[in-house]
């Protein structure tokens, strides 16, 4: 039976972190006690590491293997650093640098280890809770209605639109179906669907038709021909999208009218009017025509707001992608806060082998009801799958880096508030 309670996942998350920290502390102690001149001889470090390996008494094979790998990486990085700078920097300074970098790394691990607590006491004060809420507020807002969520997302889109869009586009979209037998399931945005949404935006802005607003007399809403959206696609390459147009339309606040037109839903009209994406224009016959003036984010943010509102019905791929991004942002935000950019151990933290020991559990923790409220049972445990999605962690977009900086600043703020209490 799968064990997915908080008290099952948290210890798993802690396991590897609690093995990393002692290794770094031990290494720091050894380096501190070592005569700087001995550092010049690289073999000394090798011998120390071999001695340390002998002290390994762990019974679990996976853990002892990981510890050995981790320790080897740490020592290799230290050796490389010494070799690289021993001609240019006095060895005593090199030693100070190493110790300083180790201090920073241990500090980062300390925060990661204490990111929350086993009984979720005072969760509002934990880093995990505060960071999840901070990120959620910016790129995956909650709210009691689509309108509230949409406006919140739009407010943050000036700075973080690319992150918001990124959150909606899983790199494993090819595993998804546009339409699910279970009607409610919401998949992520594939590049082709994204392109289709761009087409819809263009058609609305350039040359829309106008028709009666079914729910409001004397009003005309813009409409585009369904066929026109797909006219650019030849050789049936967008057939699945064309067949699923009704579901797609619902996700971006549109609907099919008279079987051929794509037009906004009633609720969407209110949201778009309020945010200047429609402007009213009085016609000579007295009717009021709603003229579209969409932006790049108009329909995409609706999709995101829709997904956030119905977060209980997200597809497996989308849940894995969203929670992975949250875990990654929290992890990188903490590292950015604690580690200076020059820290030589950054590469270990960013290594796929370290990532896959920390992030999967962080993903699950972030999904619990008090946090993101996503179905954590849909998070895949397969190592191959993890590799597949974690591979994309490196392909960062600039906007994501800006957001990580912002999260690091927020971490400092949390710390300051804690100290003031």
């Amino acid at each position: 039976m799968v064990r997915e309670k908080w008290t099952d996942i948290l210890p798993r998350y802690m396991t590897f972190i609690s093995h990393m920290r002692p290794i770094l502390r031990e290494t720091r102690r050894i380096i501190l006690n070592l005569d700087p001149d001995l550092l010049l001889d690289i073999e000394v470090l090798d011998k120390i590491r071999q001695e340390e390996e002998k002290r390994n008494i762990r019974k679990v094979r996976a853990l002892s293997e990981f510890s050995a790998m981790y320790r080897t990486n740490v020592y290799e990085i230290i050796k490389d650093f010494i070799v690289k700078y021993r001609e240019d920097i006095p060895i005593i300074d090199i030693k100070d640098y190493i110790v300083e970098f180790l201090y920073e790394s241990i500090d980062a691990l300390k925060v990661l280890q204490n990111i929350t607590n086993p009984d979720q006491r005072n969760i509002e004060n934990t880093y995990l809770f505060q960071l999840v809420k901070f990120i959620e507020q910016t790129i995956f807002s909650r709210g009691s209605s689509i309108q509230i969520i949409y406006e919140n997302l739009l407010k943050n889109s000036a700075n973080y639109y690319e992150c918001q869009r990124h959150l909606l586009m899983p790199h494993t979209y090819y595993r998804e179906k546009l339409e699910n037998p279970d009607f409610f399931v919401i998949p992520g945005l594939s590049p082709k669907v994204y392109q289709i949404i761009n087409n819809i935006t263009s058609l609305y802005n350039l040359d829309p038709n106008f028709g009666e607003f079914p729910e409001k007399e004397n009003y005309e809403i813009p409409m585009v021909l369904k066929n026109e959206i797909f006219s650019a696609y030849i050789d049936s390459i967008a057939n699945p999208e064309e067949e699923a147009i009704e579901s797609l339309a619902e996700r971006i606040g549109l609907r099919i009218l008279d079987g051929i037109f794509l037009s906004p839903q009633q609720e969407t009209v209110d949201i778009f009017l309020k945010n200047n994406f429609f402007r009213e224009s009085k016609q000579s016959d007295g009717t009021i025509r709603l003229i579209p003036q969409f932006s790049n984010e108009t329909l995409i943010l609706y999709y995101l707001a829709f997904a956030s509102m119905r977060r209980g019905f997200l597809s497996k791929e989308l849940i894995n992608w969203i929670s992975m991004n949250f875990a990654f942002l929290i992890y990188m935000g903490i590292l950015k806060w604690k580690l200076t950019d020059e820290n030589i151990f950054y590469s270990i933290f960013k290594d796929l082998q370290t990532n896959e020991k920390v992030l999967p559990y962080l993903m699950k923790l972030a999904c619990f009801p008090n946090y993101l409220g996503l179905d954590k049972m849909k998070i895949r445990d397969s190592p191959q799958y993890r590799k597949e999605i974690f591979n994309f962690i490196g392909s960062q977009i600039d906007n994501l880096k800006d957001f990580i900086n912002e999260i690091a600043i927020y971490c400092k703020k949390i710390e300051k508030e804690r100290k003031n209490k």
Binding site: I291, Q293, F294, S295, N296, G394, S395
Partner: protein, 379 residues
């Protein structure tokens, strides 16, 4: 034959002028603009094009294509390193974004087989693969592990990787292991990297060589545009060898992309009333953006301009050989429709208006146009 007497060149120009006349008719027929004066500005620009483009044997085309576009993206040389260096030098952040969007779609569809039948960001994966090692090589089995489909045989992706390697002009080295540890069998690893002369250029900014440790890391600046520069350089130097550059698909694609750049460069700059909400939108950058007249984007206006422009580009950069691959080509028709969408992808919609991001190549082409029209007016 001198260009003055070149009948093909003359014919192509005439075709373009006919296209401009058709576009003028269309703009006159329909008014879809919501910015006062936009339609008039566009009509004036189209009329100027009709009058000035045929002057001096098509001087505007000659300067825009032969000088600007060729220098920045498609150097007229046979030397790969020189071509790569020139393209790399013309990079700017904004230009990168647009060229990227234009070319990425094209390269991705070209390499679609390796993207596992999906529309995966193939160039990003190449960047990823190089960034993960400290010797600036990628190896076939690593590539398979990162991007392969476990349900398909390994040789499938290896073959596709080879195709990709050719597309970018990478070089390969083989490492033969007589007995591998697991099965005691002979094993051949194929490593791929950049040619040595390119490595030298990359060392300036994109590659960090650690002589002491023997490592080669990529720097933060190393990104997908390095591959795009390699791709362009590779096509540029092999422009006469159709097989090497992927046949008429590449020719049609490249010509269409450059035609699009030219079209965007010719676009008139609109002045907007200071009360227009677009100016208050946080995503609008008044310094680096300009609003595109809506009619410019209409299919009925764009098509008559685009068709002859693709041929002009093909003829200028690849001569009769390239032109013959455009005329009547099915691929051309397909790319045609795709490119109309690309046009919208590389620009930004803000409150119902498509805004052009001012990148150097657009500004340079616009300047040539202004320079020549003003020059002619003075005469």
């Amino acid at each position: 034959m001198s260009e003055q007497q070149d009948p093909t060149w003359k014919e192509l120009q005439q075709e373009f002028i006919k296209g401009v006349e058709k576009a003028i008719e269309q703009v006159n027929e329909r008014d879809v603009e919501n910015i006062p004066g936009a339609r008039e500005a566009l009509l004036q620009r189209l009329n100027n094009m009709r009058i000035h483009f045929p002057n001096n044997n098509g001087a505007i085309f000659l300067k825009s294509i032969d000088d600007k576009i060729q220098n920045a993206f498609f150097p007229n040389t046979k030397d790969f390193t020189e071509a790569f260096q020139k393209i790399l030098k013309s990079r700017t952040h904004e230009q990168d974004f647009i060229i990227n969007e234009l070319l990425n779609g094209f390269v991705t569809s070209k390499a679609k087989a390796i993207a596992m039948g999906t529309q995966g960001p193939i160039i990003d994966r190449m960047v990823e693969a190089f960034s993960k090692r400290n010797d600036f090589h990628i190896v076939d089995h690593q590539f398979f592990a990162m991007f392969g489909d476990p349900n398909k045989p390994r040789h499938y992706i290896q073959k596709q990787l080879e195709e990709l390697v050719n597309l970018f002009g990478l070089i390969s080295k083989e490492l033969v292991i007589e007995k591998d540890k697991r099965r005691s069998e002979k094993k051949v690893y194929t490593f791929y990297t950049f040619p040595p002369a390119i490595l030298k250029i990359l060392e300036e900014k994109y590659l960090i060589i650690d002589d002491e440790l023997g490592y080669a890391y990529v720097s933060e600046a190393f990104d997908r545009n390095i591959f795009i520069c390699m791709f362009l350089a590779n096509v540029a130097i092999n422009r006469d060898d159709l097989e090497k550059i992927g046949g008429s698909y590449t020719i049609n694609g490249i010509s269409a992309i450059f035609a699009l750049i030219l079209i965007l460069g010719f676009m008139p700059k609109l002045s907007i009333d200071e009360t227009n909400p677009i100016l208050r939108d946080p995503s609008f950058d008044n310094q680096n953006m300009s609003v595109i007249p809506k009619s410019w984007m209409l299919k009925q206006v764009l098509e008559p301009l685009f068709e002859p422009l693709i041929k002009i580009i093909a003829y200028r950069i690849g001569g009769g050989l390239w032109l013959s691959k455009i005329i009547g080509s099915e691929i051309n028709k397909k790319i045609h429709t795709q490119i109309r969408f690309l046009l919208r992808d590389v620009n930004k919609w803000i409150l119902g208006n498509l805004c052009r991001v001012e990148i150097p190549i657009f500004v340079e082409i616009a300047n040539i146009f202004t320079e020549i029209t003003v020059g002619t007016d003075t005469e």
